[in-house]
Protein backbone atom coordinates (compact mmCIF):
# COMPACT_ATOMS: atom_id res chain seq x y z
CA UNK A 1 0.00 0.00 0.00
CA UNK A 2 1.57 3.29 -1.00
CA UNK A 3 1.54 6.44 1.08
CA UNK A 4 -0.98 8.42 -0.92
CA UNK A 5 -3.42 5.54 -0.63
CA UNK A 6 -2.79 5.24 3.09
CA UNK A 7 -3.27 8.99 3.46
CA UNK A 8 -6.67 8.79 1.80
CA UNK A 9 -7.71 5.89 4.03
CA UNK A 10 -6.62 7.66 7.20
CA UNK A 11 -8.27 10.87 6.04
CA UNK A 12 -11.58 9.13 5.43
CA UNK A 13 -11.75 6.46 8.06
CA UNK A 14 -9.24 7.58 10.66
CA UNK A 15 -11.63 9.98 12.32
CA UNK A 16 -14.46 7.42 12.26
CA UNK A 17 -12.24 4.76 13.82
CA UNK A 18 -11.08 7.22 16.48
CA UNK A 19 -14.69 8.17 17.17
CA UNK A 20 -15.79 4.55 17.61
CA UNK A 21 -12.76 3.84 19.78
CA UNK A 22 -13.48 6.84 22.00
CA UNK A 23 -17.14 5.86 22.40
CA UNK A 24 -16.14 2.25 23.22
CA UNK A 25 -13.64 3.54 25.77
CA UNK A 26 -16.28 5.71 27.40
CA UNK A 27 -18.88 2.93 27.38
CA UNK A 28 -16.54 0.43 29.03
CA UNK A 29 -15.15 2.87 31.57
CA UNK A 30 -18.08 4.96 32.76
CA UNK A 31 -21.40 3.63 33.96
CA UNK A 32 -23.64 6.40 32.60
CA UNK A 33 -21.72 7.27 29.45
CA UNK A 34 -24.31 5.85 27.07
CA UNK A 35 -27.26 6.75 29.27
CA UNK A 36 -30.05 8.55 27.38
CA UNK A 37 -29.44 11.69 29.44
CA UNK A 38 -25.74 11.98 28.63
CA UNK A 39 -26.17 11.11 24.96
CA UNK A 40 -28.96 13.62 24.39
CA UNK A 41 -27.08 16.33 26.29
CA UNK A 42 -23.95 15.85 24.19
CA UNK A 43 -25.72 15.73 20.82
CA UNK A 44 -28.05 18.59 21.72
CA UNK A 45 -25.26 20.91 22.76
CA UNK A 46 -22.88 20.03 19.94
CA UNK A 47 -25.49 20.53 17.21
CA UNK A 48 -24.66 24.27 17.24
CA UNK A 49 -21.00 23.54 16.55
CA UNK A 50 -22.00 20.97 13.95
CA UNK A 51 -23.95 23.58 11.97
CA UNK A 52 -21.10 26.10 12.09
CA UNK A 53 -18.56 23.42 11.10
CA UNK A 54 -20.70 22.37 8.13
CA UNK A 55 -20.60 25.89 6.70
CA UNK A 56 -16.89 26.12 7.47
CA UNK A 57 -16.29 22.80 5.72
CA UNK A 58 -17.76 24.13 2.46
CA UNK A 59 -15.81 27.38 2.73
CA UNK A 60 -12.56 25.52 3.38
CA UNK A 61 -13.17 23.16 0.46
CA UNK A 62 -13.10 26.22 -1.85
CA UNK A 63 -9.74 27.14 -0.32
CA UNK A 64 -11.19 29.96 1.79
CA UNK A 65 -11.82 30.46 5.49
CA UNK A 66 -14.64 32.06 7.47
CA UNK A 67 -13.59 33.61 10.77
CA UNK A 68 -16.88 35.42 11.30
CA UNK A 69 -19.07 32.41 12.19
CA UNK A 70 -18.78 32.81 15.97
CA UNK A 71 -19.84 36.44 16.15
CA UNK A 72 -22.46 35.84 13.45
CA UNK A 73 -23.95 33.18 15.72
CA UNK A 74 -23.91 35.65 18.61
CA UNK A 75 -25.62 38.28 16.44
CA UNK A 76 -28.11 35.65 15.25
CA UNK A 77 -28.95 34.69 18.83
CA UNK A 78 -29.61 38.33 19.74
CA UNK A 79 -31.77 38.92 16.65
CA UNK A 80 -33.67 35.68 17.29
CA UNK A 81 -34.24 36.52 20.96
CA UNK A 82 -35.52 40.01 20.12
CA UNK A 83 -37.87 38.66 17.43
CA UNK A 84 -39.02 35.65 19.42
CA UNK A 85 -41.65 37.89 21.03
CA UNK A 86 -43.48 37.94 17.68
CA UNK A 87 -43.56 34.15 17.50
CA UNK A 88 -41.41 31.15 16.69
CA UNK A 89 -41.19 31.72 12.94
CA UNK A 90 -40.12 35.41 13.14
CA UNK A 91 -37.51 34.39 15.72
CA UNK A 92 -36.01 31.74 13.47
CA UNK A 93 -36.26 33.97 10.40
CA UNK A 94 -34.49 36.88 12.12
CA UNK A 95 -31.62 34.68 13.28
CA UNK A 96 -31.09 33.12 9.87
CA UNK A 97 -31.70 36.50 8.21
CA UNK A 98 -28.82 38.29 9.92
CA UNK A 99 -26.64 35.27 9.21
CA UNK A 100 -27.48 35.50 5.51
CA UNK A 101 -26.71 39.22 5.61
CA UNK A 102 -23.25 38.69 7.14
CA UNK A 103 -22.61 35.83 4.73
CA UNK A 104 -23.59 38.00 1.77
CA UNK A 105 -21.19 40.74 2.90
CA UNK A 106 -18.42 38.14 3.21
CA UNK A 107 -19.23 36.81 -0.24
CA UNK A 108 -19.20 40.27 -1.80
CA UNK A 109 -15.93 41.26 -0.10
CA UNK A 110 -14.26 38.06 -1.31
CA UNK A 111 -15.65 37.87 -4.86
CA UNK A 112 -16.15 41.54 -5.78
CA UNK A 113 -13.52 43.42 -3.78
CA UNK A 114 -11.02 40.53 -4.09
CA UNK A 115 -10.13 40.78 -0.41
CA UNK A 116 -8.51 37.66 1.03
CA UNK A 117 -11.13 35.53 2.82
CA UNK A 118 -9.09 35.64 5.99
CA UNK A 119 -9.18 39.45 6.17
CA UNK A 120 -12.70 39.90 4.81
CA UNK A 121 -14.19 37.59 7.43
CA UNK A 122 -12.01 39.13 10.13
CA UNK A 123 -13.72 42.44 9.36
CA UNK A 124 -17.19 40.95 9.53
CA UNK A 125 -16.20 39.19 12.76
CA UNK A 126 -15.60 42.62 14.30
CA UNK A 127 -18.64 44.20 12.67
CA UNK A 128 -21.05 41.39 13.63
CA UNK A 129 -19.74 41.39 17.18
CA UNK A 130 -20.19 45.16 17.40
CA UNK A 131 -23.70 44.91 15.94
CA UNK A 132 -24.63 42.20 18.43
CA UNK A 133 -23.50 44.40 21.31
CA UNK A 134 -25.35 47.45 19.94
CA UNK A 135 -28.53 45.52 19.26
CA UNK A 136 -28.58 43.93 22.69
CA UNK A 137 -27.44 46.93 24.73
CA UNK A 138 -24.38 44.93 25.86
CA UNK A 139 -26.33 42.41 27.94
CA UNK A 140 -28.03 39.10 27.27
CA UNK A 141 -31.55 39.44 25.85
CA UNK A 142 -34.16 37.07 27.31
CA UNK A 143 -36.23 35.15 24.76
CA UNK A 144 -40.00 35.20 24.89
CA UNK A 145 -41.29 32.67 27.41
CA UNK A 146 -44.80 32.56 25.96
CA UNK A 147 -44.26 32.12 22.23
CA UNK A 148 -42.87 28.61 22.53
CA UNK A 149 -39.51 29.64 21.07
CA UNK A 150 -37.67 27.72 23.79
CA UNK A 151 -39.12 24.44 22.56
CA UNK A 152 -36.69 24.67 19.61
CA UNK A 153 -33.94 23.96 22.10
CA UNK A 154 -35.65 21.73 24.61
CA UNK A 155 -38.08 19.85 22.40
CA UNK A 156 -37.60 16.50 20.74
CA UNK A 157 -38.86 14.67 17.69
CA UNK A 158 -39.60 11.24 19.12
CA UNK A 159 -36.27 10.72 20.92
CA UNK A 160 -34.10 13.02 18.81
CA UNK A 161 -33.62 16.53 20.30
CA UNK A 162 -34.76 19.19 17.81
CA UNK A 163 -31.30 20.88 17.52
CA UNK A 164 -29.80 17.49 16.68
CA UNK A 165 -32.49 16.81 14.11
CA UNK A 166 -31.82 20.19 12.52
CA UNK A 167 -28.10 19.44 12.35
CA UNK A 168 -28.67 15.98 10.90
CA UNK A 169 -30.95 17.33 8.19
CA UNK A 170 -28.40 20.04 7.37
CA UNK A 171 -25.63 17.45 7.05
CA UNK A 172 -27.77 15.18 4.87
CA UNK A 173 -28.52 18.11 2.56
CA UNK A 174 -24.88 19.20 2.61
CA UNK A 175 -23.71 15.73 1.66
CA UNK A 176 -26.23 15.54 -1.19
CA UNK A 177 -25.21 18.96 -2.52
CA UNK A 178 -21.49 18.17 -2.34
CA UNK A 179 -21.67 14.75 -3.97
CA UNK A 180 -24.57 14.92 -6.39
CA UNK A 181 -24.93 18.48 -7.66
CA UNK A 182 -22.97 20.60 -10.11
CA UNK A 183 -22.55 23.24 -7.41
CA UNK A 184 -20.94 20.71 -5.09
CA UNK A 185 -18.48 19.56 -7.73
CA UNK A 186 -17.71 23.20 -8.54
CA UNK A 187 -16.88 23.83 -4.87
CA UNK A 188 -14.22 21.10 -5.03
CA UNK A 189 -12.98 22.26 -8.44
CA UNK A 190 -12.48 25.82 -7.17
CA UNK A 191 -10.53 24.56 -4.17
CA UNK A 192 -8.42 22.35 -6.40
CA UNK A 193 -7.50 25.09 -8.85
CA UNK A 194 -9.41 28.34 -8.97
CA UNK A 195 -7.84 29.64 -12.19
CA UNK A 196 -8.41 26.40 -14.03
CA UNK A 197 -12.04 26.34 -12.85
CA UNK A 198 -12.53 29.84 -14.18
CA UNK A 199 -10.98 28.93 -17.52
CA UNK A 200 -13.27 25.92 -17.76
CA UNK A 201 -16.19 28.30 -17.53
CA UNK A 202 -17.37 27.28 -14.09
CA UNK A 203 -19.33 30.00 -12.24
CA UNK A 204 -16.51 30.56 -9.74
CA UNK A 205 -17.62 33.89 -8.27
CA UNK A 206 -21.23 32.76 -7.89
CA UNK A 207 -20.33 29.52 -6.12
CA UNK A 208 -17.85 31.24 -3.78
CA UNK A 209 -20.51 33.83 -2.94
CA UNK A 210 -23.01 31.02 -2.31
CA UNK A 211 -20.58 29.18 -0.03
CA UNK A 212 -20.07 32.21 2.23
CA UNK A 213 -23.80 32.90 2.18
CA UNK A 214 -24.47 29.34 3.34
CA UNK A 215 -21.84 29.56 6.04
CA UNK A 216 -23.45 32.78 7.32
CA UNK A 217 -26.94 31.27 7.21
CA UNK A 218 -25.82 28.17 9.13
CA UNK A 219 -24.05 30.36 11.70
CA UNK A 220 -27.28 32.37 12.07
CA UNK A 221 -29.20 29.12 12.55
CA UNK A 222 -26.68 28.07 15.19
CA UNK A 223 -27.42 31.42 16.84
CA UNK A 224 -31.14 30.58 16.90
CA UNK A 225 -30.30 27.32 18.68
CA UNK A 226 -27.97 29.19 21.04
CA UNK A 227 -30.79 31.56 22.01
CA UNK A 228 -33.25 28.69 22.47
CA UNK A 229 -30.83 26.54 24.48
CA UNK A 230 -29.67 29.39 26.71
CA UNK A 231 -33.11 31.09 26.98
CA UNK A 232 -31.41 34.30 25.84
CA UNK A 233 -29.66 36.08 23.03
CA UNK A 234 -25.99 36.18 24.02
CA UNK A 235 -23.95 38.94 22.34
CA UNK A 236 -20.64 37.87 23.86
CA UNK A 237 -20.96 34.15 23.08
CA UNK A 238 -19.38 32.57 20.06
CA UNK A 239 -15.81 33.71 20.80
CA UNK A 240 -13.51 31.03 19.43
CA UNK A 241 -16.27 29.06 17.69
CA UNK A 242 -14.60 29.69 14.36
CA UNK A 243 -11.43 28.04 15.59
CA UNK A 244 -13.36 25.10 17.05
CA UNK A 245 -15.06 24.71 13.68
CA UNK A 246 -11.76 24.87 11.79
CA UNK A 247 -10.30 22.29 14.19
CA UNK A 248 -13.30 20.00 13.64
CA UNK A 249 -13.00 20.30 9.87
CA UNK A 250 -9.26 19.56 10.01
CA UNK A 251 -9.76 16.63 12.38
CA UNK A 252 -12.42 15.42 9.94
CA UNK A 253 -9.68 15.04 7.35
CA UNK A 254 -10.51 17.96 5.09
CA UNK A 255 -7.35 19.60 3.80
CA UNK A 256 -7.13 23.32 4.50
CA UNK A 257 -5.72 23.91 1.05
CA UNK A 258 -9.14 23.11 -0.38
CA UNK A 259 -10.10 20.85 -3.23
CA UNK A 260 -11.04 17.83 -1.17
CA UNK A 261 -13.14 17.06 1.81
CA UNK A 262 -16.13 15.28 3.17
CA UNK A 263 -19.21 16.45 4.98
CA UNK A 264 -19.75 13.26 6.97
CA UNK A 265 -16.22 13.11 8.38
CA UNK A 266 -16.61 16.75 9.42
CA UNK A 267 -19.60 15.68 11.51
CA UNK A 268 -17.41 12.93 12.94
CA UNK A 269 -14.76 15.58 13.70
CA UNK A 270 -17.30 17.68 15.62
CA UNK A 271 -18.49 14.65 17.57
CA UNK A 272 -14.94 13.54 18.29
CA UNK A 273 -13.97 16.92 19.78
CA UNK A 274 -17.30 17.12 21.66
CA UNK A 275 -17.08 13.61 23.07
CA UNK A 276 -13.44 14.14 24.00
CA UNK A 277 -14.68 16.92 26.28
CA UNK A 278 -17.41 14.69 27.63
CA UNK A 279 -14.91 11.91 28.39
CA UNK A 280 -12.65 14.37 30.21
CA UNK A 281 -15.62 15.47 32.30
CA UNK A 282 -16.42 11.87 33.19
CA UNK A 283 -12.79 11.25 34.04
CA UNK A 284 -12.97 14.19 36.44
CA UNK A 285 -16.06 12.60 37.96
CA UNK A 286 -14.20 9.34 38.54
CA UNK A 287 -11.82 11.24 40.76
CA UNK A 288 -8.62 9.57 39.56
CA UNK A 289 -7.42 12.71 37.92
CA UNK A 290 -8.67 16.27 38.04
CA UNK A 291 -8.54 18.01 34.72
CA UNK A 292 -9.63 21.60 34.99
CA UNK A 293 -11.13 23.46 32.05
CA UNK A 294 -7.64 24.80 31.44
CA UNK A 295 -6.18 21.34 30.94
CA UNK A 296 -9.06 20.46 28.68
CA UNK A 297 -8.03 23.17 26.23
CA UNK A 298 -4.44 21.94 26.46
CA UNK A 299 -5.65 18.43 25.61
CA UNK A 300 -7.73 19.80 22.74
CA UNK A 301 -4.71 21.67 21.38
CA UNK A 302 -2.50 18.58 21.66
CA UNK A 303 -5.16 16.55 19.90
CA UNK A 304 -5.26 19.04 17.05
CA UNK A 305 -1.45 18.94 16.94
CA UNK A 306 -1.44 15.14 16.66
CA UNK A 307 -3.97 15.25 13.83
CA UNK A 308 -2.17 17.88 11.75
CA UNK A 309 1.20 16.20 12.25
CA UNK A 310 -0.34 12.93 11.06
CA UNK A 311 -1.94 14.68 8.09
CA UNK A 312 1.31 16.42 7.26
CA UNK A 313 3.46 13.31 7.45
CA UNK A 314 1.04 11.29 5.34
CA UNK A 315 0.13 13.81 2.68
CA UNK A 316 3.04 16.17 2.28
CA UNK A 317 6.05 13.88 2.06
CA UNK A 318 5.21 12.22 -1.28
CA UNK A 319 4.64 15.66 -2.80
CA UNK A 320 8.07 16.80 -1.79
CA UNK A 321 9.71 14.00 -3.75
CA UNK A 322 7.75 14.90 -6.87
CA UNK A 323 8.80 18.55 -6.90
Amino acid sequence: MNRAHLARLVGTYGVLIALVALILFGWLRYENFLSPFNVTTVVRYNSMFALVALGMCFVIMTGGIDLSVGSTAALGSVAAALSSHFGIIPGIAAGIGVGVLVGAINGLLVTRANIMPFVATLCTLLAASGSALLLSGQTSVPVSSTSGFISIGTGALWIVPIPTAVALIAYALGSLVLNYTATGRTVLAIGGNEDASRLMGLPVARVIFLVYLTSGALAGLAGVLLAALGYAGQPTEGVGWELFAIAAVVVGGTLLTGGSGSVITTLAGVLLLGILFNVLNFENGEGWITLSAAWQSVVRGLFLLAVILLQASLTRSPQKKKV
Partner: protein
Protein backbone atom coordinates in the same frame (compact mmCIF):
# COMPACT_ATOMS: atom_id res chain seq x y z
CA UNK B 1 -2.65 38.75 -4.99
CA UNK B 2 -2.29 40.67 -8.20
CA UNK B 3 -5.09 42.76 -9.55
CA UNK B 4 -5.21 43.59 -13.22
CA UNK B 5 -6.46 47.01 -14.10
CA UNK B 6 -6.61 46.97 -17.87
CA UNK B 7 -8.47 50.26 -18.28
CA UNK B 8 -6.04 52.35 -16.28
CA UNK B 9 -3.65 54.71 -17.99
CA UNK B 10 -0.14 54.54 -16.73
CA UNK B 11 0.91 58.15 -17.17
CA UNK B 12 -2.02 59.91 -15.51
CA UNK B 13 -2.23 60.70 -11.81
CA UNK B 14 -3.94 57.77 -10.17
CA UNK B 15 -6.12 58.62 -7.19
CA UNK B 16 -6.42 55.03 -6.00
CA UNK B 17 -2.69 54.49 -6.27
CA UNK B 18 -2.04 57.68 -4.32
CA UNK B 19 -4.56 56.72 -1.61
CA UNK B 20 -3.14 53.21 -1.36
CA UNK B 21 0.32 54.62 -0.75
CA UNK B 22 -0.50 57.50 1.56
CA UNK B 23 -4.10 56.87 2.65
CA UNK B 24 -3.25 55.72 6.17
CA UNK B 25 -0.93 58.65 6.77
CA UNK B 26 -3.53 61.09 5.43
CA UNK B 27 -6.19 59.50 7.62
CA UNK B 28 -3.93 59.80 10.64
CA UNK B 29 -3.26 63.47 9.85
CA UNK B 30 -6.96 64.23 9.33
CA UNK B 31 -7.83 62.48 12.61
CA UNK B 32 -5.31 64.56 14.53
CA UNK B 33 -6.59 67.81 12.98
CA UNK B 34 -10.20 66.80 13.64
CA UNK B 35 -9.42 66.04 17.27
CA UNK B 36 -7.50 69.25 17.84
CA UNK B 37 -10.52 71.20 16.59
CA UNK B 38 -13.41 69.21 18.03
CA UNK B 39 -12.26 67.05 20.94
CA UNK B 40 -11.83 68.83 24.24
CA UNK B 41 -8.42 68.56 25.92
CA UNK B 42 -6.96 66.67 22.99
CA UNK B 43 -3.69 68.51 22.53
CA UNK B 44 -2.38 67.65 25.98
CA UNK B 45 0.48 65.50 27.15
CA UNK B 46 -1.97 63.36 29.10
CA UNK B 47 -4.02 62.45 26.03
CA UNK B 48 -0.82 61.61 24.21
CA UNK B 49 0.28 59.38 27.09
CA UNK B 50 -3.08 57.62 27.34
CA UNK B 51 -3.13 56.85 23.63
CA UNK B 52 0.50 55.79 23.49
CA UNK B 53 0.13 53.54 26.53
CA UNK B 54 -2.89 51.85 25.03
CA UNK B 55 -1.37 51.36 21.62
CA UNK B 56 2.03 50.19 22.87
CA UNK B 57 1.34 46.51 23.38
CA UNK B 58 -0.46 46.31 20.04
CA UNK B 59 2.49 47.87 18.23
CA UNK B 60 4.98 45.59 20.00
CA UNK B 61 3.04 42.48 18.99
CA UNK B 62 2.28 43.84 15.52
CA UNK B 63 6.00 44.40 14.88
CA UNK B 64 6.64 40.67 15.19
CA UNK B 65 3.45 39.94 13.28
CA UNK B 66 4.65 42.13 10.39
CA UNK B 67 7.72 39.93 9.95
CA UNK B 68 5.60 36.77 10.06
CA UNK B 69 3.15 38.16 7.52
CA UNK B 70 6.04 39.35 5.34
CA UNK B 71 7.03 35.69 4.89
CA UNK B 72 3.45 34.91 3.84
CA UNK B 73 2.51 33.48 7.24
CA UNK B 74 0.25 34.45 10.10
CA UNK B 75 0.50 34.05 13.88
CA UNK B 76 -2.80 33.49 15.69
CA UNK B 77 -1.10 32.44 18.93
CA UNK B 78 0.29 35.83 20.04
CA UNK B 79 -2.50 36.47 22.56
CA UNK B 80 -2.05 33.08 24.18
CA UNK B 81 1.72 33.53 24.27
CA UNK B 82 1.19 36.86 26.05
CA UNK B 83 -0.90 34.99 28.61
CA UNK B 84 1.87 32.40 29.14
CA UNK B 85 4.52 35.08 29.60
CA UNK B 86 2.20 37.08 31.87
CA UNK B 87 1.41 34.02 33.99
CA UNK B 88 4.98 32.76 34.30
CA UNK B 89 6.70 35.97 35.42
CA UNK B 90 4.71 36.57 38.66
CA UNK B 91 4.98 32.87 39.54
CA UNK B 92 8.75 33.36 39.63
CA UNK B 93 9.18 36.79 41.22
CA UNK B 94 6.47 36.14 43.82
CA UNK B 95 7.98 32.81 44.85
CA UNK B 96 9.49 32.80 48.37
CA UNK B 97 12.88 31.70 46.99
CA UNK B 98 13.69 35.33 46.21
CA UNK B 99 12.37 36.63 49.54
CA UNK B 100 15.19 39.06 50.23
CA UNK B 101 16.54 39.54 46.73
CA UNK B 102 13.60 40.76 44.68
CA UNK B 103 15.78 42.31 41.97
CA UNK B 104 17.29 38.91 41.14
CA UNK B 105 13.82 37.38 41.14
CA UNK B 106 12.50 40.00 38.73
CA UNK B 107 15.49 39.58 36.43
CA UNK B 108 15.08 35.80 36.32
CA UNK B 109 11.31 36.14 35.91
CA UNK B 110 11.67 38.45 32.90
CA UNK B 111 14.28 36.31 31.21
CA UNK B 112 12.31 33.13 31.85
CA UNK B 113 9.00 34.58 30.66
CA UNK B 114 10.45 36.02 27.47
CA UNK B 115 12.43 32.83 26.82
CA UNK B 116 9.28 30.75 27.24
CA UNK B 117 7.45 33.01 24.82
CA UNK B 118 10.29 32.77 22.31
CA UNK B 119 10.24 28.98 22.64
CA UNK B 120 6.51 29.00 21.90
CA UNK B 121 7.27 31.03 18.78
CA UNK B 122 10.01 28.56 17.81
CA UNK B 123 7.49 25.75 18.17
CA UNK B 124 5.16 27.55 15.74
CA UNK B 125 8.04 28.07 13.36
CA UNK B 126 9.04 24.43 13.64
CA UNK B 127 5.55 23.30 12.65
CA UNK B 128 5.45 25.72 9.73
CA UNK B 129 9.01 25.24 8.45
CA UNK B 130 9.63 21.57 9.13
CA UNK B 131 6.21 20.05 8.46
CA UNK B 132 4.98 22.63 5.96
CA UNK B 133 1.77 23.01 7.94
CA UNK B 134 -0.28 26.06 6.98
CA UNK B 135 0.53 28.86 9.42
CA UNK B 136 -3.12 29.47 10.29
CA UNK B 137 -3.49 25.89 11.53
CA UNK B 138 -0.04 25.53 13.01
CA UNK B 139 -0.51 28.58 15.22
CA UNK B 140 -4.08 27.51 16.01
CA UNK B 141 -2.56 24.75 18.17
CA UNK B 142 -0.94 27.19 20.58
CA UNK B 143 -3.87 29.57 20.30
CA UNK B 144 -6.05 26.85 21.84
CA UNK B 145 -3.51 25.15 24.10
CA UNK B 146 -1.46 28.22 25.09
CA UNK B 147 -4.11 29.96 27.13
CA UNK B 148 -4.90 26.61 28.73
CA UNK B 149 -1.25 26.24 29.72
CA UNK B 150 -1.27 29.75 31.23
CA UNK B 151 -4.48 29.01 33.13
CA UNK B 152 -3.15 25.66 34.35
CA UNK B 153 0.07 27.28 35.61
CA UNK B 154 -1.94 29.69 37.76
CA UNK B 155 -4.97 27.46 38.45
CA UNK B 156 -6.91 30.23 36.68
CA UNK B 157 -6.30 32.43 39.73
CA UNK B 158 -5.73 36.15 39.51
CA UNK B 159 -2.15 36.94 40.56
CA UNK B 160 -2.06 40.34 42.22
CA UNK B 161 1.26 41.97 43.04
CA UNK B 162 2.92 45.23 43.98
CA UNK B 163 6.52 44.96 42.88
CA UNK B 164 7.89 48.32 41.71
CA UNK B 165 11.11 46.70 40.43
CA UNK B 166 9.05 44.70 37.95
CA UNK B 167 6.29 47.17 37.25
CA UNK B 168 8.86 49.69 36.10
CA UNK B 169 8.46 48.30 32.56
CA UNK B 170 4.80 49.31 32.64
CA UNK B 171 4.74 52.32 34.92
CA UNK B 172 8.24 53.81 34.86
CA UNK B 173 8.76 57.28 33.36
CA UNK B 174 12.42 57.99 32.54
CA UNK B 175 12.79 61.39 30.78
CA UNK B 176 9.02 61.82 31.31
CA UNK B 177 8.23 59.14 28.76
CA UNK B 178 6.59 55.82 29.66
CA UNK B 179 9.08 52.95 29.57
CA UNK B 180 6.90 50.84 27.32
CA UNK B 181 6.83 53.65 24.75
CA UNK B 182 10.64 53.69 24.69
CA UNK B 183 10.54 49.91 24.42
CA UNK B 184 8.10 50.15 21.53
CA UNK B 185 10.16 52.76 19.69
CA UNK B 186 13.36 50.72 20.13
CA UNK B 187 11.68 47.57 18.82
CA UNK B 188 10.15 49.41 15.87
CA UNK B 189 13.45 51.07 14.90
CA UNK B 190 15.50 47.89 15.23
CA UNK B 191 12.99 45.79 13.31
CA UNK B 192 12.57 48.41 10.61
CA UNK B 193 16.34 48.45 10.18
CA UNK B 194 16.44 44.65 10.11
CA UNK B 195 13.77 44.50 7.44
CA UNK B 196 15.26 47.19 5.22
CA UNK B 197 18.97 46.88 5.54
CA UNK B 198 19.91 43.44 6.81
CA UNK B 199 20.38 40.21 4.93
CA UNK B 200 17.79 38.66 7.21
CA UNK B 201 15.23 41.25 6.10
CA UNK B 202 15.92 40.48 2.45
CA UNK B 203 15.46 36.76 3.19
CA UNK B 204 12.14 37.48 4.90
CA UNK B 205 10.78 39.43 1.92
CA UNK B 206 12.16 36.94 -0.61
CA UNK B 207 10.52 34.05 1.25
CA UNK B 208 7.20 35.85 1.23
CA UNK B 209 7.51 36.97 -2.38
CA UNK B 210 8.24 33.59 -3.89
CA UNK B 211 9.26 30.83 -1.56
CA UNK B 212 10.35 28.39 -4.21
CA UNK B 213 12.48 30.99 -6.01
CA UNK B 214 14.01 32.09 -2.70
CA UNK B 215 14.94 28.52 -1.90
CA UNK B 216 16.53 28.03 -5.31
CA UNK B 217 18.42 31.27 -4.91
CA UNK B 218 20.09 29.80 -1.86
CA UNK B 219 18.13 31.58 0.85
CA UNK B 220 17.69 29.57 4.04
CA UNK B 221 13.90 29.62 3.88
CA UNK B 222 13.37 27.23 6.78
CA UNK B 223 15.68 29.13 9.10
CA UNK B 224 14.07 32.43 8.11
CA UNK B 225 10.61 31.09 8.97
CA UNK B 226 11.83 29.70 12.29
CA UNK B 227 13.32 33.10 13.08
CA UNK B 228 10.24 35.21 12.28
CA UNK B 229 7.94 33.05 14.40
CA UNK B 230 10.49 33.11 17.22
CA UNK B 231 10.66 36.92 16.98
CA UNK B 232 6.87 37.10 17.01
CA UNK B 233 6.84 34.99 20.18
CA UNK B 234 9.57 37.18 21.69
CA UNK B 235 7.54 40.35 21.00
CA UNK B 236 4.38 38.77 22.43
CA UNK B 237 6.36 37.79 25.53
CA UNK B 238 7.45 41.39 26.11
CA UNK B 239 3.91 42.65 25.50
CA UNK B 240 2.57 40.17 28.05
CA UNK B 241 4.96 41.52 30.70
CA UNK B 242 4.03 45.14 29.91
CA UNK B 243 0.29 44.39 30.22
CA UNK B 244 0.56 42.71 33.61
CA UNK B 245 2.93 45.43 34.86
CA UNK B 246 0.39 48.12 33.99
CA UNK B 247 -2.48 46.17 35.60
CA UNK B 248 -0.50 45.19 38.74
CA UNK B 249 -2.14 41.82 38.19
CA UNK B 250 -2.03 38.84 35.88
CA UNK B 251 -5.23 37.12 34.80
CA UNK B 252 -4.48 34.21 32.49
CA UNK B 253 -8.04 34.33 31.17
CA UNK B 254 -7.71 37.89 29.92
CA UNK B 255 -4.10 38.82 29.16
CA UNK B 256 -3.75 39.24 25.39
CA UNK B 257 -7.30 38.18 24.60
CA UNK B 258 -8.12 39.18 21.02
CA UNK B 259 -4.61 40.58 20.49
CA UNK B 260 -4.07 38.56 17.29
CA UNK B 261 -6.93 40.46 15.64
CA UNK B 262 -5.65 43.90 16.73
CA UNK B 263 -2.13 43.10 15.57
CA UNK B 264 -3.24 41.74 12.20
CA UNK B 265 -5.51 44.76 11.73
CA UNK B 266 -2.61 47.13 12.42
CA UNK B 267 -0.39 45.30 9.93
CA UNK B 268 -3.12 45.27 7.27
CA UNK B 269 -4.05 48.94 7.65
CA UNK B 270 -0.35 49.82 7.65
CA UNK B 271 0.09 48.62 4.09
CA UNK B 272 1.96 45.35 4.50
CA UNK B 273 0.89 42.94 1.79
CA UNK B 274 -0.99 40.14 3.57
CA UNK B 275 0.19 37.49 1.13
CA UNK B 276 3.78 38.35 1.94
CA UNK B 277 6.66 39.83 -0.01
CA UNK B 278 6.15 43.48 0.88
CA UNK B 279 6.23 44.83 4.41
CA UNK B 280 6.68 48.06 6.29
CA UNK B 281 7.22 48.38 10.01
CA UNK B 282 6.61 52.14 9.98
CA UNK B 283 3.34 51.41 8.18
CA UNK B 284 2.38 49.00 10.96
CA UNK B 285 3.12 51.71 13.52
CA UNK B 286 0.99 54.19 11.54
CA UNK B 287 -1.75 51.58 11.16
CA UNK B 288 -1.87 50.84 14.87
CA UNK B 289 -1.89 54.55 15.74
CA UNK B 290 -4.68 55.23 13.23
CA UNK B 291 -6.90 52.44 14.58
CA UNK B 292 -6.24 53.58 18.14
CA UNK B 293 -6.99 57.21 17.30
CA UNK B 294 -10.21 56.32 15.48
CA UNK B 295 -11.35 54.44 18.54
CA UNK B 296 -10.30 57.27 20.87
CA UNK B 297 -12.01 59.88 18.69
CA UNK B 298 -15.28 57.95 18.64
CA UNK B 299 -15.21 57.22 22.36
CA UNK B 300 -14.26 60.80 23.27
CA UNK B 301 -17.20 62.03 21.22
CA UNK B 302 -19.72 59.76 22.87
CA UNK B 303 -19.95 56.91 20.35
CA UNK B 304 -20.25 53.51 22.09
CA UNK B 305 -17.38 51.04 21.85
CA UNK B 306 -19.54 48.54 19.96
CA UNK B 307 -20.10 51.04 17.16
CA UNK B 308 -16.37 51.78 17.16
CA UNK B 309 -15.80 48.07 16.39
CA UNK B 310 -17.96 48.34 13.28
CA UNK B 311 -16.06 51.42 12.15
CA UNK B 312 -12.77 49.60 12.74
CA UNK B 313 -13.98 46.71 10.57
CA UNK B 314 -14.89 49.09 7.76
CA UNK B 315 -11.49 50.80 7.98
CA UNK B 316 -9.62 47.49 7.71
CA UNK B 317 -11.71 46.42 4.70
CA UNK B 318 -11.20 49.72 2.90
CA UNK B 319 -7.48 49.81 3.71
CA UNK B 320 -6.88 46.31 2.39
CA UNK B 321 -8.99 46.99 -0.68
CA UNK B 322 -6.99 50.16 -1.40
CA UNK B 323 -3.73 48.23 -0.97
CA UNK B 324 -4.77 45.91 -3.75
CA UNK B 325 -5.24 48.81 -6.15
CA UNK B 326 -1.51 49.43 -5.95
CA UNK B 327 0.47 48.50 -9.02
CA UNK B 328 3.50 47.63 -6.85
Amino acid sequence: MTVNAPGRRLDSFDVLEFLARYGTLIALGLLIVFNIVFTRNFATLQTLNVNLTQVCTIVIVATGMTLVIATGGIDLSVGSIMAISGALAPLIFLSPVFGDNIALGVAIAMVAAISAATLCGLFNGWLVAQFRIQPIVATLVLFIAGRGIAQAMTNSNLQVFRVPEFQWIGLGRPFGLPVQVLLMVTLVVVTAWLLRRSRFGRSVLATGGNERAAELAGIAVKRTKLAVYAISGFCAGIAGLVVIAINSASDANLVGLGMELDAIAAVAVGGTLLVGGRATIMGTLTGALTIQLVRYTLLANGVPDAAAMIVKAAIIAVAVWLQQQRRV
